[in-house]
Symmetry: C2
Amino acid sequence: MNRVSIVCLGVRNMEASVRFYRDGLGFVTDVKENNPHMVFFNTYGTKLELYPLQELAEDINSVNPPSIGKGFSGITLAYNVDSKEKVNEVIELVRSAGGTVVKEPQEVFWGGFHAYFSDPDGYYWEVAYGPDFKYDEHGMLTF
Amino acid sequence: MNRVSIVCLGVRNMEASVRFYRDGLGFVTDVKENNPHMVFFNTYGTKLELYPLQELAEDINSVNPPSIGKGFSGITLAYNVDSKEKVNEVIELVRSAGGTVVKEPQEVFWGGFHAYFSDPDGYYWEVAYGPDFKYDEHGMLTF
């Protein structure tokens, strides 16, 4: 067992999230609708999925669904890039897509350059460049 | 922008989580220590990372770190397999690793077979088989 097949984000407003990820950030999907029931993005390797939050809780256990929390979930997603300029570019894209920049692009103690934003449901993404990051031909980290 | 480079789980007890993921479930890492500061697993495509929870909140914003929530975070991770038997096998592995099975393996309305477990910090994983799932040579979903 050594695999993350899908990261699924439970969303409160599908239309707002599709607008953010597909139309705003440019995540690739075959879905053309503006308010689908669910959507998968064709990220290489791992799929990113959006699914209605309450239904996701019920999919986990329909008899006793976990109660939905508030505050920082403890999970972050990372979008890693190969230059500092690209960190800035992604953050500008986030801003124009209506995301919240929670940490402006800046140098990090470990030698990299990063920023954080949150999506319409408050899920956190790190956008990071590191001088030692290596990528394969699909843009996935290989370290 | 169309990439999930890393899924990072903020953990409360690194040693317990390393025991669960590395020693229990068999996730692959170069880290030999039992209580490292952080650990990356070499999942194909997307890395799975464990990082101390409070430090993750401070990495997002050291001046005003998001307060850590309780309850279902709204994010699930999926481990997809190519047979019903493998769903059962993974769930048995989870049980022997000390994870909590929150939904026993069962048929799903969309034609698949799945189960859910939670890890030492309460993060949810779906283990799923679907008759239409296709995988590449690295075991990643290709639909």
